[in-house]
Symmetry: C2
Subunit: 408 residues, 2 copies
């Protein structure tokens, strides 16, 4: 990007120390796909026996690399696997040139690593509609293969950034049958989208052994409570990719292990929150807790309606406890609601109940809460047991500046 | 509103000269509901025999006046009718107090005008969650009734404004059986929404005679091509109200008259465009023409997905012909699309076709178009005969300023 972006005020203090995940090595390189003076390609190489699960954008205009990954998922795990990601160009809406670029890159990765093409996954993130200069990546594969190391996951996180203002990582370790299993993940994304549809990409690695179908089921289930519950601006990337790779190198079977599932959810939740914290122009991290809905899916519809409402998001930016806009977002969501059963709180301050402002509500109390960096909005529909939590950020001049004032 | 808003750069030069519509008289008054030093209540009184059709917000948290209007629509037309609208307070999310206010006002209007309560329609627009000080309106009803005049429709348009930067009116006249029938309408709204959910309100009057069920069918049909095809920010008011009143005073039956329907559509389209032109912070008026969709409803879904995308709207604000964001919005819409059959134009400049940028496309050509105040985006899906046109405005710092920087 031409502009240099200020680090998000919601960013963590520093990139976390991530544990080594046995059976996976990383490398990164500066290939000059578009950006100068920084790394822009990462390679991850995984041991034979690795199982891989994935979740991808639902977009009907999704990119060539996404289509290629979707076709390959679930294949034989005996041959190892490789993931190659470039930033600077998304290889999306590039017609048949897009497929050619994917084929050229996967073939070169196969040659350089010995992993069969059917087990080489790629992703591209950055400007769309321009042909990917895949030759610049292909000539760097020897250097990438030579540089592989089990400690370089942080370099990989750097290489996949586009408009991100900080690199994103998270990890967990659990003991299973007296042995340690590690989970480490990296992500990029400034929300669902970014200038040039810069894409959310997430790669999570574990040295646990997990059967592929169980891994996919686990990923899908946790994704619905984490990455599918965040939104920055309601726009959807053509390239969103989330891959979870279990190398099995720790020689511990974690299939259907509840403790492992819980640790994985912690990592995925952490990464998804980091994406929101890097939302374009974000100054507030907002958690919306919806309870009492007719169903869990209704709760999520209400939550996302609130989270995506430009009026709610600008009120939060203005530190205005404007609960009327929350009522509005609930009313328009399409899910069941009854005005007279609804209650709304900011943090622990009850604002509205029974179709009316709460008699004890003092706006000064809510106004103090709105000045904080992290804001919790609680909505109870009073209808049933359905619940969901979603996360978003505010809508500020910074968002307009990034997306309108600069040519992308 | 505390802030004084600059007149939209997209506003028409002046309020139009509206013809007298026989059988309806208007009055307005400064009741001090919230605003000072301006009119804030309008009354329209219609002759016996008037038929009324309406369209209202779909919100589940809709206001007490909306619920009251919906219950009364379609009633006996032999007793005349009255419409009373106040600005400054929306009487929404005000619990049982809301119904009480509506009852007090409709009762007072009935007494002052001789129209039965069942034929008195009200609307309120402005801040939500605060009890409506209906006494301030009730005490002004004598003055309102005394001031009724068939030439004061422009004063009525002024009285219903909240964050509007200009009053909105439109008209048409048609000859039927050698006699002139007039249609005149007024509207308020800065998009679907405004600070405090200030509401879109539209009142259209004609002296034609139209049977009530035919009038309702006509209104619903035209509404789907006009007011239901505009969006400013995807938010939905709790109070949106559109009423069409046919007084019959011209003694011309226009039921099922094609020329009348066409004139009515002209008026409704004009008013709906004026609402977009007063969209909060708007600097560009955008028409999105979708053709070649699998169905008309698919075309509208794609059109609204493009029109509501914050990324598309900020690109337009930045005068950036960023067609990749249009591809993104189509991909996420949920309606049928095939990347390789899609074509996109800005005005007459073909940008993308066959899943790829058009070989003849020169960005300079599109960049010139983007500098204009009025922008046309054409999308052809290449799938079928479905088509729709929707209208929106850009997303600018002005929107953030109005909705975040000021306390509402």
């Amino acid at each position: 990007m031409a502009q240099s972006l200020t680090r998000s005020p919601l960013a963590p203090a520093s990139f976390p120390d991530l544990p080594i995940v046995k059976g996976v090595r990383f490398a990164s390189v500066a290939a000059g796909v578009k950006y100068q003076n920084r790394t822009d390609v990462m390679l991850a190489l995984m041991a034979p026996g690795t199982t891989i699960a994935g979740a991808f954008t639902q977009s009907l205009t999704r990119s060539a690399p996404v289509r290629d990954c979707q076709a390959k998922l679930g294949d034989n795990s005996q041959d190892g696997a490789a993931i190659l990601v470039n930033s600077g160009n998304s290889n999306a809406f590039t017609g048949h040139f897009g497929q050619t670029s994917v084929a050229q890159i996967t073939s070169a990765v196969a040659t350089a690593t010995g992993v069969p093409e059917a087990r080489v996954f790629t992703a591209s993130t950055g400007v769309i509609g321009e042909p990917l200069p895949h030759d610049r990546i292909v000539v760097k594969l020897g250097e990438l293969a030579d540089g592989l190391s089990d400690t370089r996951i942080n370099d990989a996180a750097d290489a996949i950034m586009t408009t991100d203002t900080f690199a994103k990582g998270a990890s967990a370790q659990v003991e299973i049958d007296g042995q340690t299993v590690s989970i480490a993940g990296i992500a990029k994304g400034s929300g669902m989208i970014a200038p040039d549809m810069a894409t959310m990409l997430v790669y999570i690695f574990t040295d646990a052994e997990v059967e592929q179908q169980a891994l996919q089921a686990l990923l899908t289930s946790i994704c619905n409570r984490t990455f599918n519950c965040i939104t920055v601006d309601s726009d959807t990337s053509t390239s969103d990719t989330l891959m979870l790779c279990a190398t099995g190198a720790a020689n511990v079977d974690a299939t259907d292990d509840a403790q492992f599932a819980s640790a994985l959810e912690t990592v995925m939740l952490d990464l998804s929150h980091q994406v929101v914290r890097d939302g374009e122009g974000a100054t507030k991290f907002v958690e919306i807790q919806v309870t009492g809905a007719a169903s869990d899916s209704d709760a999520k519809i209400h939550g996302l309606s609130i989270a995506n409402s430009p009026l709610v998001k600008t009120a939060i930016a203005g530190e205005d406890p404007n609960w009327g806009r929350i009522v509005m977002a609930i009313g328009k969501s399409g899910a069941a609601a009854d005005r007279d059963l609804l209650s709304i709180s900011f943090g622990d301050v009850l604002v509205a109940e029974k179709g009316w402002v709460s008699p004890d509500y003092r706006e000064e109390d809510a106004a103090i809460l709105m000045k904080q960096d992290e804001i919790t909005i609680k909505v109870d529909l009073g209808l049933g047991a359905g619940h969901a939590t979603v996360w978003t950020c505010d809508l500020t001049h910074g968002y307009i500046q990034i997306n309108a004032d600069y040519r992308s």
